[in-house]
């Protein structure tokens, strides 16, 4: 039999309906693949094979009865930021200890209600704070891709991006058909770009945030990482939707995104912002960008130079807004109601000891920055100022939308880097998000689609940014790039 783990989500769906294999066989193939790969890649922090097989059995019964739901029997990975009822959820932080939620996230519930199977919980940067998955309490995730330097295979471990590094590594290594992820400053799109996978951060409000461990509430959004543009469209349709439990989640119907994929880009106006041509951008990233422009033009789109003048201020403004909101959100981890408790001599001592032991270095750094910018006398100078700059960033896009329908940029300034290469310098790591963070600041949808290989033989992505709630156009344009560039499967399963 062919290797079922290599199928796309759409192929697996069609194969299950055509009864070429069962949901149980498909799930078992993934469980076997996870067993072999996880000691090397560390993508899953908690595989849940028994849970998966029970769901698969129920799916097989429905498939036999002809009552299959849209994602019936399709095995997915679930980022450990999503609460799972009765199944340990940690946000990859020690402070959550052995936390077992008594509820399921809305996005997760939507997927399981559509018939999907959960293979386990995926690794991520602690509380989603990081761009390399190196801040996880469970240790880093290894990118399934390896680089070539000076004509030689280099076995150095590369990062899979972050914070959704478990999701991106698991999808690219065929350890699930697709995965949930979250994106606060680039945490879906950057890891997708570094692993040759597709990742979409929808418009703020498209997916419910209920039951997802909060990082920065005005920026956080859930979305999928998948093998193809079509797969990401299928997944997003079944993750998104109104939710009475999240007042920022919009009451808008979710379109059939899969139907958008094949619509092409004839007459679509594509904007190319000059401000994304940053100092020190490598020639290969620029060349990739030019290729993307040519592909869209060949498919009938028109290309327009645009200006987004406040782009350079997005990242510094983000590093006020995100830490401020995280310091507020993470105040709940006090060792009283759930998670870790380190006893102290009194209550305040208990708080301080618990939080010192429970939070990692990067989380502490951000909580402290956030506490500083929100402390007495500084609110106007920092948080309010940054929120005003956000308005200007959003206005740049509002102005652009009168001339263009979608914006094309690179996803990241460079391909996957090695373990530890950026860990010593917080700002160097923050610069990973320079092309993605504006999208969160403006609340817009953005998709990263693999478009080529670097000189080191590792994948690179292009990003498409759309109007609010116009994810459909992103899928159309991303499919044109995927069709032209081809797909980028990991060349060698060196771990098996």
């Amino acid at each position: 039999m062919t290797d079922l783990t290599k199928l796309t989500l759409a192929e697996a769906r069609d194969g299950l309906v055509a009864k070429k294999f069962s949901a149980t066989e498909l799930t078992q193939a993934f469980i076997k693949a996870i067993d072999a790969a996880n000691p090397h890649l560390n993508a899953y922090v908690l595989p849940t094979p028994e849970h998966a097989l029970a769901q698969a059995k129920a799916s097989d019964e429905r498939l036999a009865k002809g009552t299959a739901r849209p994602l019936e029997g399709l095995p997915l990975g679930n980022k450990d930021l999503f609460c799972t009822k009765g199944i340990r959820t940690t946000a990859c932080s020690r402070i959550l200890d052995d936390f077992k939620p008594t509820y399921e996230s809305t996005v997760g519930q939507n997927l399981w209600d559509a018939g999907a199977v959960m293979l386990g919980k995926l690794n991520n940067d602690e509380f989603a704070m990081g761009s390399s998955n190196e801040t996880s309490a469970f240790g880093p995730v290894v990118n399934p891709w390896r680089r070539t330097r000076h004509g030689q295979k280099d076995n150095a471990k590369l990062v899979p991006g972050g914070s959704s590094g478990g999701s991106s590594a698991a999808v690219s290594a065929n350890l699930c058909l697709g995965a949930t992820a979250t994106d606060t400053g680039g945490s879906i799109r950057q890891p997708a770009a570094l692993t040759g996978t597709v990742g979409i951060k929808p418009t703020y409000g498209r997916c419910s945030r209920w039951g997802i461990v909060a990082f920065a509430s005005s920026l956080d959004q859930a979305g999928p990482i998948a093998k193809t543009v079509r797969d990401s469209a299928i997944m997003l349709r079944h993750m998104a939707g109104p939710d009475a439990k999240d007042s920022t989640c919009v009451d808008l119907p979710v379109p059939d995104y899969e139907a958008e994929v094949a619509r092409g880009v004839k007459g679509l106006r594509v904007g190319v912002p000059k401000e994304y041509r940053v100092d020190g951008m490598s020639a290969e990233v620029d060349a990739l960008w030019q290729k993307g422009i040519a592909w869209l033009k060949d498919a009938g789109a028109t290309i327009h130079d645009i200006s987004l003048p406040h782009t350079k201020y997005a990242l510094p403004a983000y590093y006020i807004v995100a830490p401020a909101e995280c310091s507020s959100n993470l105040a709940r981890y006090d060792g009283v109601r759930y998670g870790l408790r380190v006893p102290g001599k009194d209550l305040i001592d208990t708080y301080e000891a618990t939080r010192a032991a429970g939070f990692g270095k990067e989380v502490k750094r951000r909580v402290l920055i956030g506490t500083y910018v929100l402390s007495a006398g500084y609110y106007d100078a920092y948080y309010l100022k940054a929120q005003k700059v956000r308005t200007l960033i959003k206005r740049d896009f509002d102005n652009a939308w009168s001339d263009v329908d979608v914006v094309l940029t690179p996803t990241t300034p460079s391909p996957a880097f090695g373990f530890g290469e950026k860990a010593g310098d917080p700002i160097a790591m923050y610069l990973e998000d320079i092309f993605t963070v504006t999208v969160n600041m403006a609340g817009l949808p953005g998709i990263s689609v693999p478009a080529g290989l670097s000189g080191e033989g590792t994948p690179m992505g292009l990003q498409l940014i759309g109007k609010p709630f116009d994810e459909g156009t992103l899928f159309r344009a991303a499919q044109v790039i995927e069709s032209a560039a081809g797909r980028f499967p990991v060349p060698e399963r060196w771990w098996a």
Partner: protein, 95 residues
Amino acid sequence: MQVDEATVRRIARLARIRITDEEAKALEGELSGILAWVEQLGEVNTDNVPPMTRVADMKLRKREDVVTDGEKADDIIANAPMTEDHYFVVPKVVE
């Protein structure tokens, strides 16, 4: 903005995170670096610019003011490090 060690300690106290002397020293440099880097926002004229509050212009959804949840004390204390009769137990705070 230069952050000195006393400020780092004051912030850590506000954030309820105990830090070691070594951490305080390292954080002094790191926080100063990050705050110096965000200073560039000062170049942007934000006079008469409102802070961003939403992506698209829409009304905040409202619902009937009725009880829709509750009666789940067991669930609420299920993950607590220390409990007694549906109460969270903490170190004594009043003498």
